[in-house]
């Protein structure tokens, strides 16, 4: 039986050689498939070399599932080909949109959670899963704006997507912390309402305060260690879920590899300390 995934790291070209050699138990690597949808060449060779030694997860950032349009069929086909090549342990995407009327906006954009949006996104997820021939996990977004016109709470919206499509969820605890701070809701209450039974992966990352607005506006910058308050929320989550594969996301201001590995080991230790049988999912 393959060893269980515990804590993983985002794969950075800068750390490739160390990543390849690393033998930490339970380690896995996550990449953005957009960086590997090449026709050939060294990128795919790197990814296949890593995959030969470790489980790999594909975490998409540009399918634009919350756009009021079906996902790009050519992109989906290439993603499916990459998935066949890599056989990822987990595939995931965001509850957000980024491509609109032929233009890509490199961000994960918000929308009003209306009944119509629910229907559209459920269709988009179902279509994606049909092409990929596997379930995907949908990540809760980071929020910076109060938007009028929501028909659904985000936790209920996600639960309904799970019910309609059979998708899984990717719970980004840092996103919950930031959104709660920025929009003024209670992070613990959000997590209590979150459909934890569907969570296939957890993300942890660092954030920083906006240079102008300070702590009133936290930015999901992935450029710092995970904050203590986020670790605390994470501990509460895994006490309820039991061990769930957990990724430390770090995309900017990269430290040396050993520093990332130390942070990853903290999540690994937390995961190995919780007992699945003691923790019925809520």
């Amino acid at each position: 039986m393959a060893p269980a995934l515990t804590a993983g790291l985002g794969l950075k070209p800068l750390h490739f050689d160390e990543a390849l050699r690393c033998t930490a138990p339970g380690l896995w690597w996550e990449v953005h498939p957009e960086n590997y949808l090449a026709a050939g060449g060294p990128r795919l060779a790197w990814l296949e070399a890593i995959r030969a030694r470790h489980p790999v997860a594909l975490h998409g950032v540009s399918l634009s599932l919350a756009a009021d349009a079906p996902p790009d069929t050519a992109h989906l086909a290439r993603l499916a080909a990459l998935a066949r090549r890599v056989e990822p342990a987990i595939m995931s995407e965001h509850l957000a949109w980024s491509t609109w009327r032929g233009q890509y906006l490199p961000d994960l954009l918000p929308f009003p959670r209306t009944q119509a949006a629910l229907q559209r996104i459920a269709d988009n997820i179902a279509r994606t899963q049909d092409v990929l021939q596997r379930p995907i996990a949908i990540e809760n977004p980071t929020h910076y704006l109060h938007i009028d016109g929501h028909d659904w709470l985000e936790t209920d919206f996600l639960a309904e997507l799970v019910r309609r499509t059979g998708c899984a969820l990717l719970l980004d605890v840092n996103n919950v912390y930031i959104s709660a701070n920025n929009l003024g809701f209670d992070a613990q209450a959000y997590l209590e309402a979150f459909p934890l039974h569907a969570v296939a992966e957890i993300h942890l990352a660092g954030h920083h305060a906006d240079p102008v607005h300070g702590d009133a506006l936290l930015i999901d910058s992935h450029d710092a260690p995970v904050a203590p308050a986020v670790w605390a929320l994470y501990a509460q989550v895994i006490a309820r879920t039991g061990p769930v594969p957990t990724l430390i996301e770090r995309d900017d201001n990269l430290p040396v590899f050993s520093e990332l590995l130390t942070e990853r080991d903290q999540a690994h230790s937390a995961l190995t300390a919780v007992q699945p049988e003691d923790a019925p999912c809520s």
Binding site: E34, A39, S98, P106, D107, Y144, H146, I147, H213
Partner: protein, 249 residues
């Protein structure tokens, strides 16, 4: 509100001047709206900076990011594959007024683009010297070869674009004066990583002809027309050793 209406308005407010609809004003007036605006612009500029590192070295971060912001507004990404974003950047720089004092910049950008395309292109098995040795003179000239999917080549008449590009890529920062004549470049991926070589005018003409499906004889004629003094045997050796050619389908 329809989801598409929201996305039309949000998109316009992200990229354009202040909105007039009340619901958009209510979003734009929140401090968080700037986070999206900044992230979208930063994403485009960061991608261009990653894809045009030599241009960045020549002009410095501030100049590059200012120019990239203008380009990103004019030619935003169409797809989420930012690793290949910026196809039109070299042409853009050729017509970009602030770059007028650096007339070689566009040709250097073209070589950065060659690197990206070479890096991402499909794999294929190149022909080697052994293939050449197996040909008889009769079959050789009527045979044709095509450029490897990863091979990219460029010629610049006015500036030593390749010499500038190569010295920056290799971290040489030459202090001695360059001989200011045109030059050419060949980028290939013979093993895993992208490698580069100087390429004569004859070499670029030869590869252009191969790309059009011409026979080796016709390609050789093109090469010698472009540069009558070219050492054709040496050119073929360079191309084969670089893995620049594959059999025709």
């Amino acid at each position: 509100m329809q989801l598409s209406t929201f996305q039309d308005g949000f998109c316009a407010a992200l990229l354009g001047p202040a909105a007039d609809a009340q619901w958009l004003l209510a979003l734009e007036s929140q401090p968080g709206f700037a986070v999206y605006r900044n992230t979208v612009v930063k994403g485009c500029i960061d991608a261009l900076q990653a894809n045009y590192p030599t241009v960045g070295q020549l002009v410095g971060d501030d100049w590059f990011r200012a120019a990239a912001a203008v380009f990103a507004r004019a030619q935003p990404p169409r797809k989420g594959l930012l690793v290949s974003y910026g196809e039109g950047f070299a042409d853009f720089l050729a017509g970009f007024a602030p770059a007028a004092e650096l007339p070689y910049l566009s040709a250097v950008a073209c070589l950065d683009r060659c690197w990206t395309e070479c890096h991402l292109a499909a794999d294929a098995t190149a022909v080697d010297r052994q293939w050449l040795a197996q040909q008889t003179p009769d079959t050789l000239y009527q045979a044709s070869l095509q450029p490897h999917p990863a091979a990219r080549w460029a010629w610049c008449d006015e500036h030593p674009a390749y010499a500038l590009w190569q010295s920056h890529r290799e971290g040489l920062h030459p202090n001695e004066a360059l001989e200011w004549t045109g030059d050419g470049a060949l980028l290939t991926r013979p093993h895993a990583e992208v490698v580069w070589h100087p390429l004569s005018r004859a070499g670029t003409a030869f590869l252009d002809a191969c790309a059009k499906g011409h026979t080796l004889e016709a390609a050789a004629t093109s090469a010698l027309n472009a540069e009558p003094t070219a050492d054709f045997a040496a050119l073929i050796s360079t191309l084969l050793d670089a893995g620049a050619l594959i059999p025709t389908d």
